[in-house]
Subunit: 320 residues, 2 copies
């Protein structure tokens, strides 16, 4: 992934569309739908979407397996009937991705994280979790993933709104050098939304527990990205945190190169120059709408932007 270019200027809608780029079925103007088929649990619940290269690799994989873990048909791929528990599905998926990782057939798997993500859908399991799988493999299965992003902002004594923006380390496996929200991360299997945001705020931005705990939930955005890595339907819980004027986020765990503190004009300039990791731009755009910087009286795509920041994703989510 190359670093961002600084030359072009985009509209907010262009930026949203770059991230939410899986075609809508009711839109005849949009590009054609990828040739994907659903990944089903043994009980027929759809938990993912597979592109042809994944289906081909799965066919190859099951040739050598007894009993057969996946039923592969033209219209779907399904977990075999004996794989009807959290444990059995988790184990077979682990073996599968370990094999593909060793064979190096999917570049996405070179960014291995050793971070397990929950896939929801099994009504018989606690919290509805059908299985867990390695984070970087999620786009190969086209499963719904969950993250949490935090807008860190300040208000000057004159009331001027400013936002802290992270620049991603050049060593990150994905989007090195691009701009990011003050704090962002996936929600691993073991943590709640709130625990995730507090942990990341401390690890990524060196914020104290006392400050991180003041982060407040303000909504969620959802979108569906098609990329070279595969299919990424995603939901990001959004938190806002007013950071005191005398506190400065600082890189800690090597994920961030540096932090910038920008006023709204500067922020908008960098979004429109396409320097943000796309889903982070969406979190900022949602902030700009909630804080009246983007206004229905001057933004022609106001309604379309709001719609696409809250895309309906046809996959099961956690039941609590």
């Amino acid at each position: 992934m190359s670093e961002p270019s600084k030359s072009s200027s985009y509209s907010f809608f262009n930026i949203v569309e770059k991230c939410d780029n899986y075609p809508y079925s009711d839109n005849t103007k949009s590009s054609s739908k990828p040739n994907d088929i659903p990944l089903l649990l043994d009980n027929d619940i759809k938990v993912g979407l597979l592109l042809p290269p994944t289906v081909e690799a799965l066919k190859e994989y099951i040739r050598l397996k007894e009993p057969n873990p996946f039923i592969i048909e033209d219209k779907y791929v399904k977990f075999a009937a004996h794989l009807n528990t959290f444990e059995s599905r988790t184990e077979i998926v682990k073996q599968l991705f370990n094999t593909w990782r060793e064979e190096k057939i999917f570049p996405a798997l070179s960014g291995w994280r050793d971070e397990l993500y929950p896939i929801y859908g099994d009504p018989k399991s606690p919290k509805n979790i059908a299985f867990v799988m390695e984070r970087c493999a999620a786009p190969l299965f086209g499963v719904l993933t969950f993250g949490v992003h935090l807008n860190g902002y300040t208000r000057t004594e004159q009331g001027q709104l400013k936002m802290w923006i992270a620049k991603r380390a050049r060593t990150k496996p994905t989007w090195p050098g691009w701009l990011d929200n003050a704090v962002a991360g996936g929600i691993p299997y073991t943590l709640s939304v709130r625990e995730s945001v507090i942990k990341e705020a401390m690890e990524e931005a060196s914020l104290s527990m006392e400050i991180a705990e003041k982060a407040v939930p303000v909504g969620a955005i959802s979108y569906f990205t098609v990329s070279q890595r595969g299919l990424q339907p995603e939901i990001q819980y959004v938190y806002d945190l007013e950071i005191p004027l005398d506190v400065e986020p600082k890189p800690l765990d090597g994920e961030v190169e540096c932090f910038y503190l920008w006023d709204m004009d500067e922020l908008v300039k960098h979004i429109k120059a396409d320097e943000f990791k796309p889903n982070c731009a969406l979190v900022v755009i949602d902030f700009l709408i909630r804080h009246s910087i983007i206004d229905p009286n001057n933004e022609p795509d106001y309604l379309d932007i709001l719609n696409r920041l809250h895309r309906r994703l046809d996959f099961p989510t956690m039941t609590i």
Copy 2:
């Protein structure tokens, strides 16, 4: 329309679902789709949805008309080719609804407002407006309508959040006696979103221009209601206004019986008791999410609620 009952208790999701109750095409569990067909402009752009009683009444209406204003087929109703301008469509629609009003065949038309709403879709017209039509007839054509709602809130000196809630006058043609946002109204043909909210704030709540102008845009909600009146796909622009502690909204134009000032617990209680006009409840729920009263860690339907507050409505909107 009877006044609200005070007995039942609903979840936030139940309340959202009551208002956004047109079935989703991908949801096999939901009730079946109404037997509606699209209303098309002469250029085939879909601007509304017609239920069988409207189609039958249209068939009767065109029997006596020369030249024929509407082409009625099994799968659609279309404006005739000679009705290809703003003026000609507006005139024929005006004649049609005046006739139906006199004939008293649709109870919805007894709530005549003399308020013209724009229907978007004609790329050749200024602001994309295909025609304008009487507000109360909109559900008969199933056209997309636009309104603006304002959350009037205060913060006490101790920082406690409270919200001003209007009780609708018992003389209102729709939802008499139900609870409403501090300020709400449709967006007529002649006003911008911002002009509408300021005008309504002054007329409905006696707020001074100086205070009303401090209202800030914070997003929009969209939903699709099926009711006895017909089909109502709607978008509400949402504004927040912090009302100074020493200012009290007061009824002025007879639309509101009285105003209440409630803390968040009281507010939630009245929403869950189903005492709010449904779309006004949705505006409050959106406020409660943005202000962290509804939290992803304790609201099981958090994501579903956010999705359904931002329903994708497959109709043209204004281009600016």
